[in-house]
Structures are given as structure tokens and as C-alpha cells.
Amino acid sequence: MLGGLVLTGCSDGGDDGKKPDGMGSTSTSAAPTKASPTTPDPTTASPPPTALPFVPDPKRAPKTEADARRIALAVVAGPDAWGPDYVKRTPHLSDPAYWPVLGADCSWGTGTRPATVLYSVTAYSEIPADGALGNLRVAATVTVHRTEADADWEMAGTLEEALRCPDQKLRDGERISDLISLGNPFGVGGNFTAHDSLGERGTYLNDAVKGKQFYGWYQSRIGQVTVATVVKGAPGYSEQEGSGTVGTVTAQVQALVTMLQRAEDELEVQS
């Protein structure tokens, strides 16, 4: 049954990619800092920086779909970035034309990639079901915009979705509800890893799985690139490690921050 869902999800291109897996929250914002590889050297005092220590190289900024595709594929987080228990789902990468859109009825459907987006890719990973642990499905998305302002508007748009539709239908049999989405620009709410970040959290409901699960979407922006990670909860898992449940937030933040690092490597001035 689960396998069937996965197959359906991936083949119709509407699975956990871009929007259909949103998440975020107030606690989201703090989390990325903790796991950040840019954590200051603890042997010296390090007051929080006042700006992201990132100097983009205009010559490296993607201008064509081909540039953007190369960068997106280099940045997007596969199972390795999530952790040792994660494996690729099949298919692992979204179709190049994949661009889900939240309809007026708060259901996700297929749309056309806007002209302001150069390229977008989603990589699907999972931890297969094992005994009492359900099938944990996660995904990472990279979107390369033409300009930083376009990427800014994508961040705003994501925040808008949770306000407009706190309850969303991902596809038949899958819903998310009670969504709350909070943005944190650099320096606010513990965001010291990206120009902008947001967290969207809510409840994940899957007809094939008993009970309510958690749902979390973290999205960050660096320059003209946005990266996002999403986790759809499954039995035996919780966001924070609990008594008897496996925590997912560390892996989710790690995947997010890994993508931010990779994006910086792709875009910044090389010394």
C-alpha cells in the first residue's frame, strides 16, 4: 500500500516536491543555527555577524537555464545530506518541467514554471518502513531565479500560501492542515545561515497511515537561489527526538544547511 502511494506520488509528479510539502515555524528558525556548519569557533568570542558572510561573484551568477540546471543539481540534497538511514526514492529527481501550483481551492496541481525561474529541481529521499517505523518521506528542492528580487518574491509567496490556505490538499489521500508559516530574515530568530528563511509547520494527514503526523517545510534564500527541505512525518518519528520516537529535525536542518553551503560554494567569489 505504501509502495503504491510512493509510486503514484512520484509518477504523477505531484509528490513531495516544491510546495506540496511545505513546512516551517517559529522553532524552525532557531534550529538551522544549531546545526549550521558555520557555527563560530568556540575558542574565540564571536558576536553574531551583522550580515551574511557571503560575497557573490557576479561572473558566477547563473544567467541561463543551463547554468541554473548545473547549479541546482550540484546543490540539491540527496540522501547523503540527510543522513545514513536515508535512501533515494525512485525516481529520485523531479521532472525538469515540474512546477506545482496551489489552486484557488487550496489543492496542489501542476503548473507552468514562471519566466522568472531559470530552473528548479526536487530530490526525493526516504527511510523505508522498518518494523514499528513507518515510511518517512522527505524531499529537497532548489530553485534558481533570474534575480534576487524574484527569489524574494518566492519567499513571500510561500508565506502567503499558509495564510491563504492553512489546510491544503497535496493530492488524493494526502492533506496538510493547521499550517503556520513564519519568516526570519538574516539575523532574526536565529537565522545566521541565509539571507532569508522561513519555516512552515503543520499536521500531515495520509489516508493510508493511521493518525496525524507532523509536517515541516524549511526554506532559505541565498542570493537568487532558494533551497527547501520538507519532511512528512510517519509513525515512530517526531520532529524533535522524543521518548520512543526518532527525531527528524536535525537531518532536515542538516540537509538545508548543506544546500546553503553548496550554493555559497557555487556562487561566491573564489579566493
Binding site: A45, P47, A149, D152, I180, L182, V188
Partner: protein, 759 residues
Amino acid sequence: MSPTGPIDSAGPTDPQRGPVPTPARPEPGALQPLLSSDPSSIAGYRLLGRLGAGGMGVVYLGRTENGELAAVKVTHADQADQPDFRARFRREVEAARRVSSPWAVPVTGADPDAPEPWMATAFVAGPSLGEAVTAHGALPERSVRLLGWAVARALSAVHAAGLVHRDVKPGNVLLAVDGPRLIDFGIARATGETALTATDMVVGTPGFLAPEQAEARTDAIGPPADVFALGCLLAYAATGRPPFGTGAVDALMYRTVHDEPDLTGVPEGLLDLVRACLAKDPAARPTAAEIGVRLTEDSPAGGADWLPAPVVRTIAERSARMLALPEIDATGPGTEPTEPPRRSRRGFLLLASGAAALAVGGGSFAAWAGLKDDETGGEADGKKPAPPRTTWKIGVLADLSGPAKEIGLAQERGARLAVEQFNARKNKPYTLELAVSDDRGDPATALEAARRLTTDPGVLAVLGATSDDTAQVVLPAFEESGLPLITVSAGYNLLTVRDEESPPNTTVLRAIPHHPFAGMHLAYAVTLLSAIRRPGVLQERTDDQYSWQLVRGVQFAFGQAGLTPHFRVVPARVREYRAVLGEMIDSGMDAYVHCGTLAGAVLAARALGELRFTGPRFTGQRAFGQAFLKEAGADAEGWFFGAPVLDAVSRKEAAGFVAAHRKRFGAAPAYYTGESYDVVTMALDELARRAKAGGGPARKGLWQALRKQKYTGVMGGYTFDESGDLTNGGTFVHAVQNGAYKVIGPAPVVPADKGKRKA
């Protein structure tokens, strides 16, 4: 190396004890006279003597113009000229200023750019743990637990500020009657400085170094190294012996890295914790915060009885000796000219213990009770019975020169008038001063501004902070010092609202609705216009915390009213609103709600004017004020504001207040002045009531008493819920008419006409 010798000595950069001198230091902590080559003052500190000297520089005992004692550490110019020294010094001082704990001695001043960079910390007269154990032997288990709890709390604050102490040892923990104090948290300690590089000095530290420090694995030295040292410290306090022994430095290092600690004699109840701290693997050690929690049930509550009596006597003697110096008794400029301090012995102790009062900021312990005794006369056992007097104060922490200075200055005036009227009362129990600290609306300097108030034991309650971001920064300083913070303008919800796992707020009292409630009230105000069916709500991201909290309240309230708004979110940097607002109008928006700050509201007002939108326009506190009228001009007409304040001139009940304000300041009160006057008067009334009932002025219990008030002031009534938030609405609708604000009335707290709307 004897077990006691090294421990008594301070490290090379200890600001209290000094860059350590010679092995033959006669009396640890004793004050040496100034040398003829010493300056008589540094910055605002008058120097009274030398606390220590060494290769790095000199540590002086100094006194501020206010009479506060400070340890002033001056670094020799040649040291300061080493590469990166000043930059590192500056960075670390900034970080140290973020350390907020009653158990860590605060940095009170610094100048990294002086020819000889200096830094001042509050002065603690008590003996070090090393001195106390040397003189009196191991401490009882309860003392050790309390010691561990407090030092762990201090370390937790140090680590939270991004610092690693790197030299936690008995010489760096000073004992005061109300608890221990950690000193010298890592300031200007040479990078990579370890016992290995320091072996040619008098080293007190090797027995207290973590393996990663002993091996000089600089990259691996982080907060866990301090935890290891804390484990050593606790074992030492409990047994009188460092757990890896004493002797040759290299052997000591080797044992630290390879051998198990000798914990013989450590009480059973502490053994697991100490052992966990001493794990060789840094990752296996508990964090300082965890240690604090594990020892928490024993936090000091009973004042001086946390230590055995002989140790307390030593503290008292030390304090008296330090403070009996003639120069210290002389009245310095700026200290109460009318009442030269004549100090009893008890006075000395109190003043010293509170180095105490200075650091704890009048917290909950003995130092505070002591000060109260003083105020009422106490029983002085010296010759001259008049004890030192404390000047009692009401504080104002406000943005007086930054982005919200209009609001900050208005609040200062309200508080000033309230205090002056209190002092004019015939039956006043004592005279109060107003202590004003300008936080400049800058989160980077707000904590320092707050500490000027929280570390002054005479300050009983503070009006402030003006803005959300500064309030968030200063909150820990107020929480740690038990000083009530009353705000009439900071609506950020988490100042008062806590999650279930956190202890409830007992510090902030908020006389306005928090932003989510303000958002609700704003949306309910929209529902007063019964024709509205499709409100457009725009969240503008210049200040996400504010706009998000407001929009969440709006979203909830429209949901309650059965309305489905059209939401849009715009990035912070956007200057062009016409496209978004045009889309909202095209989608059928019949009222506009702006969730954002002033600049965005002005842009929206202009764009809506250009688009000839005719529906009503609403926004909240952060756009309210004279600036909106000025900047939006004609486009301001027809806007409605949900603001947490009223115009005093519009209220009959406030006529007396308005007249007094005009007389005092030559102008009508501005927004926020009346509310400030009200809440300060409410606090003063409570203090007067307490005095009448025989209670001395004290911070303790004041928040709890204020929270229960049902107070009616000139601007209206104030009641508070258990978390310290206003309970009775508190949002007022203002309309812009002919270029001015006109009060419409209180915003509803439920949807208007809900039934009809559902249809």
C-alpha cells in the same frame, strides 16, 4: 607544587586578582597601594589601589563616580600591540557584555582602543574558593551543590554568549554571602594559551584543565572544556584535592589525559555528575545548562547559610578589610552630598556581599534583605550607627535618540511626572529618583543600557523597553536580576508568553495588548463596518516578527467573523506597491488591512491613493504616530489605526494630568505619556502601600503584586492575566480626519455582528 599553593594563585589574566605576580604573594586578594608610576584615574574610575600585577598588565581597584567598586584591568601597551590583540579584545568584551547571569561578574566598562586597553568588572570582595578551602578545608555537600549550581548557571550564560571561559578554577570563583561568582570569562586570554605555554609562570590551572586543553588541541577546546574544569572544581571543593592530584605539570597533564580521576571522598550524591563532567571525550560531558538543571533543586534560597559559618566569617573579614581603607570611605564626587556615608561594620559586609547586590542586582537573596535592614536602621554593631543609605529609584529604559525616540521621550516624561508627584506627597515613605537609560533603540547596545539599571540595587522597577527588539535583548538581564519591567509599547508576544516547558514570566508587565491580540482587535474593528465582505490583508516583511504576529491575529479574527480575507505577502525591500495592491483591488478587496511598519504603510497609502481605492484602510501600532500623517499627507485621510494608546487631551478623567503635564513640560502630553504615567503611578502606589504596612522598598514580590492590580489611572483601567498581559482589550481605533488623529473608541474584542455575516 603544593595542593594549595597553585590553587590560591590566580591565572595570568585574572581581572579580579590580577595578572599573577610572584609566588610570594603575601596575602591573596589584598590591596596594595598605588605606585608613583600609576595613574590616579582611568576613564571614569578613580583608582584606589592595586589588586595585582604581572606580565600582561595591572589590575586596580577603582571606584566609579557613583561610588561603585570595580576591578579595572589595564593591559600593557606592548601586549596590546601584538597582532590582532585589540580586535580580539573588542570582540570578547562585546561578547562578555552579553553574558547575563547573577553568578557571573559583569563587565561594566572597557576601552579596547586606549593606548593601554582596559576593562572593568564589578568588584567582588569575597575570598576565592581556593582561599576558602585552603583556610577551612573541604566544603559540605550542600555547599558544593549550590556552588556547582551557580557556577554552572554562570558558565551556561558564558557559553550562550559565544564565549569559552578556558580557566575555570578555584581562584576564579569568588565567594560572596549570597552565592559564588565566576570571574574572568575568557577576556583577552591569548588564543591557544594553555598550561603548556604557561608553564614558566605560576600556574594554578593544570589540575583544572580538560584533556583537550592539556594537549593544546586548540581546535577542540569548546564549552565542554569548561565543564571538565567544573567537574575538577566540584571534586576539589568536596575533597580539598584536585582530582588529578598535584605535582609536576607534565605528570599532571599526563594523568589528566590518560588516568581516571581520584574521586575518593566525593559525596555519593555528586559522584555521577562529577564523573560525567570528567569524561575524556568532550562530547560525552553534560552541558553547563544540564548541570544547572541537575543541581537545581538546591538553588540558594537562604542567603549566607549556603556556606559553613567559618567561611562566612572569612568573607565578612575580607570584605571589611578591603572596604575599611580610608580612601574608600571618602565621599567621591557625585555621591549623595547630603549624607556622607558612615559605615558600620555591618555596612561593610553588606556593601561587600553585594558586590553581590551589584551583580545580583537586588535579587532574591541575603544581600537584598540586608539592604532593607540598612534602610530601616538595622542593628549596627559599630560605633557610628548610621548605615549607608541606598537611593531608591524608578528606572526608565527607553529609546531616547533612536528610531522610536518620539515614543521613548513621551514615556520618560510620563514616568518623570509620576515620580515627581510621588516625591511631592506629604506622606511619602521615602524620596525616589528617576534613573533614565537611553538604549538608543539599538539592540547592539540595549543590554548595556539595561545593565545600568539592573545592576543598580536601588532601582525598584523599570518602565520600558520602547521597542520589541530592544525588549527581547534586555529581557534576560531583568529576569536574572528580578527587576520588574513594565512596558506600554513593546507588544512582542514572547516577552510574556512562554511555552509549557519554560518557567512562566515573572518579570514583564505589559499594559498594552500583545501583537496577536492587537491584530485580532484590528480585524474586529474592521467588522464594525458591516458592509465589508472581502478584506484584503497585506503582510509586509520589514519586521517579520511584528507583521507576522499581527497578521496571525488578523487571520484568526476574520476566521471568527466568518470572513475570508485575500492575503498577500510582500518582501521587505519592495518600494512599488501598485502591482500587489492593484491585484488585491481586482480580486474584490473592499477594505485594506496593512500588517507592517510605518514605511510600508506610507507606500501603501500612496499607492491606494493613486489606484483610487475607496474602501476603508486599517493598520496598527507600528505605523501610528505623527510621522504617518506627515509622510502620507493627503493619502493619510480615511485611514484607521488600531493603537494601544489614547490621547490624554480627549479624556475628561485625565484633565488634572494634562494640566500638570503642561505646567511641567509646557506642552500637552504626547501619545504613550499618559499610559506611562499611569503604570509608574500604579507601581509607586504599591510601594507606598508596602511602606505603610511596614515593608521596605524591594524588587522582590513587586511584579507579583503589580500583576494582581485592578488599577484605574487617568487613561483608563488596567488589569493583567497570570502571564502579565493586559486583560481588558486595550486597542483603540483612531481615524485620520483633516490631517489629524481622531479617537473613535475602543476596538471590539469580539467580532461585530457575527450572525449576519455568516449568511
